[in-house]
C-alpha cells in the first residue's frame, strides 16, 4: 500500500516535471545514437552533472557533462526512451483519469435511471447493459475508432479515445450502481424521504449520491488502470495517440518489428511502468475497498 502510493506519487512527479527530469525534448532525434542500450554514456568522461544547466538554457535533474547519456536507452529514431516515457505518462494517465470520470458519469446516469424509473425502462437499460458487457471491447473500439477521421491532432485523438472508452466501459458501472441504488431504495431513510414526498432531484442528490461515493472511489481506482491498458493497446495497434507524440502504447509499438525486438529488448521498458501503475492502482483499490467496506465485481 505504501509502496503503491509512493510509486504513483513518483510517477506523477515524473509526468508533471518531465521537462525538468529529463535532459532531452521528447521529439529530439539523434540519428547517431539509434537503439542505444540503457545507461548508455558516450563519450564517458566523469560522473553525471546533477541539476546542471542544459544547452537549452534550463536546469535538468541530470545530464552528461559532455556527450550523451541515455538512462533507458534510445528508440529507432534515437529518441531518449526515458524522456518519452515521462512525457507519455502524461497522456496515458490523462486518458485513464478523464476516461474514468466520463465512464462513471455515464454509468451512474444509466444505473440511476434504471433503478429509479423501474418497469420497462429498467428492463431496457439492463438488457443494453448486459449486451454491452458481453461484447469484446477491443473489436468495438476498433470499429468506433474507424468512425472518426484519421489525420487529426493529438488533442482530438485524445478526446476521441476518451469518449470511445467511456462508450464501451459504462456498462459495468451501470450494473453496479443499479444494484446499489436498489439496495438503498429499500432502506428506511430513502423510504422516509419518499414518504414525505421529496423531489427526485433532491432524493438523488441528498440521499443516493452520498451512498454511491465509496463505490465511485473504488470502481474509479479500478477503472484507471483498465483504461490505461486500453490506451496502450489502441496506441500499440496504431489507432491511438499518433507519432511523434509519446504515449506508453506507441513507444511499445516499435517492438512489433522483430529486428528491433531482438536487437534491443529495452524497447519493452515502458512495460515496467505500465505494470507498476496497474499494480499500484489495483492495490489502492483493494485498500479503499477494505476501508469503505464496498463490494464490487
Amino acid at each position: 500500500m505504501r509502496a503503491a502510493l509512493l510509486f504513483l506519487a513518483l510517477l506523477c512527479c515524473l509526468a508533471g516535471c518531465a521537462p525538468f527530469v529529463s535532459p532531452y525534448a521528447p521529439h529530439e532525434q539523434d540519428r547517431q545514437n539509434v537503439l542505444r542500450p540503457p545507461l548508455f554514456h558516450s563519450p564517458h568522461n566523469g560522473p553525471l552533472q546533477w541539476f546542471g544547466l542544459g544547452p537549452d538554457g534550463r536546469r535538468h535533474l541530470y545530464r552528461a557533462r559532455s556527450g550523451k547519456f541515455f538512462l533507458l536507452g534510445t528508440d529507432i529514431f534515437g529518441r531518449d526512451l526515458f524522456t518519452r516515457i515521462c512525457y507519455g505518462a502524461r497522456i496515458s494517465l490523462a486518458v485513464g483519469l478523464l476516461g474514468t470520470f466520463l465512464t462513471l458519469l455515464a454509468g451512474t446516469f444509466v444505473g440511476l435511471l434504471a433503478a429509479i424509473a423501474g418497469g420497462w425502462m429498467d428492463s431496457v437499460c439492463m438488457e443494453m447493459t448486459n449486451f454491452v458487457l458481453s461484447l469484446p471491447t477491443l473489436f468495438l473500439l476498433l470499429a468506433l475508432r474507424a468512425l472518426f477521421p484519421w489525420e487529426v491532432t493529438t488533442v482530438a485523438i485524445y478526446l476521441i479515445l476518451v469518449s470511445i472508452l467511456a462508450l464501451t466501459g459504462w456498462a459495468d458501472v451501470a450494473r453496479m450502481v443499479r444494484a446499489k441504488v436498489l439496495l438503498m431504495k429499500s432502506e428506511e431513510y430513502v423510504q422516509a424521504a419518499l414518504a414525505i414526498g421529496v423531489s427526485p432531484a433532491r432524493l438523488i442528490w441528498r440521499h443516493l449520491v452520498p451512498g454511491l461515493i465509496p463505490y465511485w472511489l473504488v470502481q474509479g481506482t479500478l477503472l484507471i488502470p483498465a483504461f490505461l491498458m486500453s490506451e496502450v493497446t489502441l496506441s500499440f495497434l496504431g489507432a491511438g495517440i499518433p507519432e511523434p507524440d509519446a504515449s506508453w502504447g506507441n513507444i511499445l509499438r516499435q517492438g512489433l518489428s522483430l529486428t528491433v525486438l531482438t536487437a534491443s529488448p529495452w524497447i519493452l521498458l515502458p512495460g515496467i511502468f505500465i505494470i507498476g501503475t496497474a499494480v499500484s492502482f489495483n492495490a489502492l483499490a483493494d485498500c479503499l475497498r477494505r476501508l469503505t467496506d464496498t463490494e464490487t465485481a
Binding site: E127, M128, N130, F131, L133, S134, L135, P136, T137, L138, F139, L140, L142, A143, L144, R145, A146, L147, P149, W150, P225, M229, V232, T233, F236, L237, G238, A239, G249, L252, G255, L256, L258, L261, T262, P265, L268, G271, I274, I275, A278, V279, N282, A283
Partner: protein
C-alpha cells in the same frame, strides 16, 4: 429444464439481433461508401452516382435498408472487399478457423495452469501467501500487449526462426499457436486462478469435504467431490474470459502475425475497408455471444439448481 434452456437461447438470439443492429448503424455512420471515390472523377455525373446508389436501395428508409442488409448477411453475403479484392464472407470463414484454434489452445493452457494453481492443499503456506499477494496481482496487471511482446522476444531468443518450414503441417501449426496462446493465457490465468483459489479454499473448509478428508478418502475421490461444486462457478468465470480473450486475439495475431479475424479486422480498420471491418466486428462479437451461450447451457447441465424455472 427446457424452459431455462429456451430462455438462454432466446437471450442469445436477442443479443445477436442487437449486435446486427449496432453493426449496421456503425457501418452507416462510417464516412463514405464505395461510390464516394467516384465523385472525384469529373467524367461521372452526380446523377449517375445517385442512380448507382438508388439501384442498391440506398434511397429507401433506414429500417428497410437494415432488413435488406440483414437478409443478405443471413444468406452469407457480406459484400466485397475493395482492398483485399475478394468477397468478404469466404475470406472471413478462412480466417475464422485460425482465431478459433488460437482461442482454443489459449483456453486449454489457461485451464491447465489454473488447475495447477488452484490446489492450496498442495502448497506450503508461504507459497500460498506469495501466490495470492505477489504473483497473481502482478500477473493481473500485465497488459496483453506486453505479454505478447515479451513472449515473442523470449521465443525468438530461445528458438531463432527457421525459414522454409512446411506450412500447414500439424506440428507447425501447434508450434505457431503455442507461443501466442501462452502470451494470451497469462492475464487470463491470473484472473481465473484468483477467483478459483478463493472458491477452492471455501470448499476445503466445508464440512462434507473435511469429513471425507479425515476419513481418509483417497485423492481421486477427494478431487471428484471437491471439484464438482466448483464447476458452475468455473463455467461462469469462463464466460467472462471470452470477451477479454477475443480482444486479446487481435493483439496476439498482430504481434505473432497469425492471419485470423483479429488481424483481418485490424488491417480493415487501417485500410478503411468498411465492409470488411464491419464483418470482422460482427464475427468477433458473435463468437463471444455464441461462446457465452455454450457456457450458459453447460452451466445448466452442471448446476441442478438452475434446471428449475426461475421464480
Amino acid at each position: 429444464m427446457l424452459r431455462s434452456l429456451l430462455l438462454r437461447i432466446v437471450h442469445a438470439v436477442l443479443s445477436l439481433v442487437l449486435l446486427s443492429l449496432l453493426v449496421f448503424l456503425l457501418s452507416r455512420a462510417m464516412p463514405g461508401d464505395i461510390w464516394t471515390e467516384l465523385q472525384m472523377d469529373p467524367s461521372i455525373s452526380p446523377a449517375t452516382i445517385k442512380e448507382l446508389r438508388d439501384s442498391y436501395g440506398l434511397n429507401r428508409p433506414e429500417p428497410i435498408q437494415y432488413l435488406l442488409w440483414l437478409e443478405q448477411v443471413l444468406h452469407g453475403n457480406l459484400g466485397y472487399s475493395a482492398v483485399e479484392k475478394q468477397a468478404v464472407a469466404p475470406l472471413l470463414w478462412q480466417r475464422l478457423s485460425r482465431t478459433v484454434a488460437l482461442a482454443t489452445t489459449t483456453m486449454v493452457i489457461t485451464f491447465v495452469a489454473t488447475l495447477i494453481l488452484c490446489f492450496p492443499v498442495f502448497q506450503r503456506r508461504w507459497q500460498q501467501r506469495w501466490l495470492d499477494s505477489k504473483l497473481i496481482p502482478m500477473l493481473l496487471a500485465f497488459p496483453v500487449v506486453l505479454t505478447c511482446l515479451f513472449v515473442n522476444w523470449v521465443h525468438i531468443v530461445i528458438f531463432p526462426p527457421v525459414y522454409g518450414q512446411e506450412f500447414g503441417s500439424m506440428g507447425y501449426m501447434l508450434e505457431r499457436l503455442f507461443w501466442p496462446s501462452l502470451a494470451l493465457s497469462i492475464p487470463l490465468t491470473a484472473f481465473l486462478s484468483k477467483q478459483m483459489r478463493n472458491e477452492t479454499r471455501q470448499i476445503l473448509r466445508m464440512q462434507y469435504f473435511m469429513i471425507a478428508r479425515s476419513k481418509g478418502l483417497p485423492i481421486p475421490g477427494l478431487l471428484r467431490n471437491g471439484l464438482k461444486p466448483a464447476i458452475p462457478v468455473f463455467l461462469n468465470l469462463t464466460g467472462f474470459l471470452f470477451t477479454s480473450l477475443m480482444g486479446g486475439t487481435v493483439v496476439a495475431e498482430t504481434v505473432f502475425d497469425i492471419p485470423g479475424i483479429g488481424l483481418l479486422t485490424w488491417h480493415a480498420m487501417l485500410n478503411r475497408d468498411t465492409l470488411l471491418l464491419v464483418a470482422g466486428v460482427l464475427a468477433g462479437c458473435s463468437l463471444v455471444i455464441l461462446g457465452n451461450l455454450a457456457v450458459d447451457l453447460l452451466t445448466i447441465w452442471a448446476d441442478p439448481r438452475l434446471r428449475k424455472p426461475i421464480q
